[in-house]
């Protein structure tokens, strides 16, 4: 009986240790083994359909948390940095938002919210962003009608993914900064913060 108790306790301890490892792994980032590497892609594969100084096309997309959100939700309240990323579970994208996550004080210093957008569906985005830890900004799905918002901004690529693109919309809803990056390269945070600084001048 004593031996049976020992075995039960050992098993329980093993289950606890195992659960701990599985739970904490997600909070500390995405396992490299889970990343799909598409290789080097055509740097830019779309044509912008918006310009600086124009009113940013408004939209409402469902966020991972279930709310319908768009730049119009922050009109008169916050600047909005729309961050399109090409696809979940791919190399550069999987790092980009975790970087913006720790840069929260910088964005808040300039009264700016980030809206992350991908053409992936919500379940995929839920699983993917869950592995990044707690993101402080909303992540929106542009899955259906597929890539409608990406297309509206002119950043939908011919393979159905979006560009790695940034659009800064000021509190009046005007586009003040646009950057369509080489899809294979992460845009420099310094450049983004410079664009926020320029807004406050």
């Amino acid at each position: 009986m004593k031996r049976l108790n020992t075995i039960s306790m050992t098993l329980a301890a093993l289950v606890i240790v195992c659960s701990w490892f599985l739970c904490t792994a997600g909070a500390e980032g995405i396992n490299r083994e889970d990343i799909y590497d598409p290789g080097t892609l055509k740097p830019i594969d779309s044509q912008l359909s918006v310009s600086l100084g124009e009113k940013a096309p408004d939209f409402r997309l469902k966020s991972v948390s279930g709310d319908m959100i768009g730049p119009g939700s922050y009109l008169g309240k916050k600047n909005v940095l729309i961050s399109f990323v090409p696809a979940a579970w791919t190399p550069v994208c999987s790092d980009q938002w975790p970087g913006y996550n720790i840069a929260r004080p910088l964005f808040e210093q300039y009264d700016t919210i980030v809206l992350g957008i991908s053409v992936d569906n919500l379940p995929t985005l839920f699983a993917w962003t869950g592995e990044m830890g707690d993101l402080w900004f909303p992540v929106l799905s542009d899955f259906w009608p597929h890539g409608r918002v990406s297309s509206q901004y002119g950043v939908l690529r011919s393979d159905g993914t979006s560009e790695r693109a940034l659009f800064l919309v000021d509190k009046k809803g005007i586009l003040r900064f646009i950057h369509v990056s080489d899809i294979n390269v992460r845009p420099d945070l310094g450049m983004i913060i410079d664009s926020l600084k320029a807004l406050s001048r």
């Binding site: 031996r3 049976l4 075995i7 050992t10 098993l11 093993l14 240790v17 195992c18 490892f21 599985l22 792994a25 909070a27 500390e28 980032g29 995405i30 396992n31 490299r32 790092d95 980009q96 975790p98 970087g99 720790i102 840069a103 004080p105 910088l106 990044m132 830890g133 992460r186 420099d188 945070l189 310094g190 913060i193």
Partner: protein, 187 residues
């Protein structure tokens, strides 16, 4: 039978745990240059002369620990406090603080990003930017974080390299500095 069951389960659990990767130490080209830090204290810490750039072999130490990190890497973010603790342990040891130096290289991180990472996690040891991944490519595109130890005065002989997180800074440091200990130091 029961012992067999427990043993099997134990190894099943072990196999599910995340394990650190082993970087390919043999393929590392370490003959790159880094910018001399502007801060006098960091220049002094590494024992560098004035100048614009330096090589790893210019660092005055018996061992250099290099952390390859990225501001964007969630594991590097989560490990930052532990790496700071590693530095504190080295500095608290009168023998080690003269012999072992710790630096970080931000793979694909601009100077702005490296500086933000430094401020955000209050990192006390020198960090360097590798904005265009030049160094990262030279050392075999290791995953971040990656820890490399080498001897600057012995043709940059690499003692150790390891990708991924570590558990306890004290134990990790003991392991890293083993090559510095003479046989008579070992109990």
């Amino acid at each position: 039978m029961k012992r067999l069951l427990v043993t099997t389960l134990f190894f099943m659990v072990l196999s599910m745990m995340p394990v650190p990767g082993i970087a390919d130490c043999g393929k590392m080209e370490l003959d790159f240059q880094l910018a001399v830090p502007e801060e006098q204290s960091q220049k002094g810490y590494l024992g560098l002369d004035d100048g614009k750039t330096f090589a790893l072999s210019d660092i005055k130490a018996d061992m250099v620990i290099i952390e390859i990190f990225s501001m964007y890497c969630p594991i590097c973010q989560a490990e930052a406090d532990k790496v700071n603790r590693l530095f504190e342990l080295i500095q608290a040891d009168d023998l080690l603080k003269e012999r072992v130096k710790l630096i970080g290289i931000g793979a694909g991180n601009s100077s702005f990003e490296v500086d933000f990472f430094r401020k955000n996690y209050q990192i006390p040891f020198p960090l360097f930017s590798d904005g265009d991944f030049t160094i990262h490519k030279k050392i075999g595109e290791v995953q971040t974080p990656c820890f490399i130890t080498l001897a600057p005065d012995k043709d940059l002989e690499v003692f150790y390299c390891r990708e991924g997180r570590f558990k306890d800074p004290g134990q990790f440091l003991d392991h890293l500095v083993k090559p510095l200990k003479s046989p008579e130091d070992t109990p």
